[in-house]
Symmetry: C2
Subunit: 380 residues, 2 copies
Amino acid sequence: MAKMIRKNYILAPGPTPVPTDLLLEGAKETIHHRTPQFKKIMQEATELTKYIFQTKNELFMLTSSGSGAMEMAVSNLLSTGEKVIVLSAGKFGERWEAICKAFKVDAVVIKREYGQTFTPEMVEKALDENPEATTVFTQLSETSTGTVMDIENIAKVVKGKGKLLVVDAISGLLAEPLKTDEWGIDVVVAGSQKGFMLPPGLAYVCFSEEALKKVEKSDITKFYFDVKAYQKNPAPWTPAVNLIYQQKMAGSMLKEEGIENVWERHRILAEAMRSAIKALNLELFSDKPGNPLTAVKVPAGIDGTKLVSFLRDEYGIVIAGGQGTMKGNIIRVAHLGYMSKFDTIIAISGLEMALKHFGYGLEYGSGVKAAEEVFERENV
Amino acid sequence: MAKMIRKNYILAPGPTPVPTDLLLEGAKETIHHRTPQFKKIMQEATELTKYIFQTKNELFMLTSSGSGAMEMAVSNLLSTGEKVIVLSAGKFGERWEAICKAFKVDAVVIKREYGQTFTPEMVEKALDENPEATTVFTQLSETSTGTVMDIENIAKVVKGKGKLLVVDAISGLLAEPLKTDEWGIDVVVAGSQKGFMLPPGLAYVCFSEEALKKVEKSDITKFYFDVKAYQKNPAPWTPAVNLIYQQKMAGSMLKEEGIENVWERHRILAEAMRSAIKALNLELFSDKPGNPLTAVKVPAGIDGTKLVSFLRDEYGIVIAGGQGTMKGNIIRVAHLGYMSKFDTIIAISGLEMALKHFGYGLEYGSGVKAAEEVFERENV
């Protein structure tokens, strides 16, 4: 192939593109974390992050990936041998399962096929069948399949039965509506490299009052992720100082934009993508596709892994392939964070050219056309 | 309109997008310009820039815009009252005219309509009709109309008659083939904010041996742009130190890429754009469109100025409108510098949506389709 300039288009569900202002904020002088200056920044960043979570509950900012925050939820909320329900229809449902197993929690795993969602009725049935289960673990968005869960109504069921609800909102936060306090979610987990438009390195967990009461009783051994340490001091260990600057700025930008507007722009990009996928006669993978990302079945005869590498190596477009058993069978395109409508156009145009390259029959421009129609209808 | 993220897409013929590596190079510590360290950087940057100009002639790097380099050409090469020929079919032909006038040079202006080119025959005729004229001034690419000039054959005519040729290659360099020494061009002028992928602030001029002999005889008063000062010291006044770092790095990147490859990628992007314009039933403005940019006639009933503002304010896409008498009648989309094929896709998709918004009848995706077909044919 002729030598063309390849810019780096991150269109995978995290890390996501970081705006220049936020990158430069992270390039500022590192100050000491035990100073009044830094404490103030940390506090302000925490308050802004609570707004994003739509919560007044206690919220901790961790120097870790989202998986660390998931561990914090399990290891603080539960005790050894405690029975919980894990909804699992993807890689991240399985991660709850793995963490529960590691901490010897008795997880009843309600399995569905990859790509399927859980209805509130399914959750109700699971709770009825396991009356000793104290807690339900699920995802807002199952990143591995692009499936969104109806957290609002799942919360009604769980809270109606007096149980606790823990939501992994790592890829979902900011891209899908989530109202922690209004919906009564006990624990919500998220990470910096998704809707926050930040580099990886920070994670967040909030705990309801009821959840914090359970934390008191937990018999699981922990240190780095011990909630009590964070309650005494929001930065019990050295935090990623420069990322906290960025967190504060991102929180401030997102608050100014307004959380409803943030949800809305993700919805519009995802609708444009879904419309393009249909126009290209491709199939959505999920039975309830969400707005953080779109998972698409790779057409028969094409190797999805090669498709992903081709887009990355030849076009500079980084999308995600399938994880685990989905490897080679699906591709995943994100609409997450700092994305303009032209990022979605790039994804679609890149996909048109790459699919054609691998022999898939399509009309050039037909996907882009469908997306442009959505943008016109949405008046953006 | 709903609030969407608007990234900044610079698709105007300068300034052009700057790659992050070059931006960061410019963010390095400013060193003193009278140090051996800086002199070495300056010298290396100059050598690399000579490669881009395809010349072994003396080349000076100026802290100025391209217009400063144009002034240096006129004020050093000529004397008061000297007769020259200026080929003028656009804003930058007119700039040669204005500079000649300012320095009391007797410019015979050969005018053509905006958007028209000059054939070697026209230049021959002009020289025959003005035998006292010593020098011909022209553009490689007339930025205001997107027209390319056949410099190779114009040079044959001019040099064949023993005259000097001065070429403004400000928007043309790197986007169109230009072989200064092989074609025998006496003076070539360029600027940093175009094909070099740099911020504005630097300009370059090279002078052939024959041109330098004429510099000796020039009676025009000058100071900042006095070639003799630059011959004694390549940095006679304080240069833009950080831009020189960037110039060196850009020169190095472009040399590694290879000048023929650089010309080639500009050609492919411009062909994709021209093909899209045709598919959208729009008309190219120039009778000889070049590869740095594509000028397009605004369809009847649409205000080109509003079209440009709409693209900028609503989509974040910065293209150029018409200058001077062309204001409102044409738009200009660049393919200049750090541009991937998806920058061209963005320009086309943005144009499709904006033109439809203003009531132009088109089928969404048809321009993108035409561009994708070019990319497929070119195997990029």
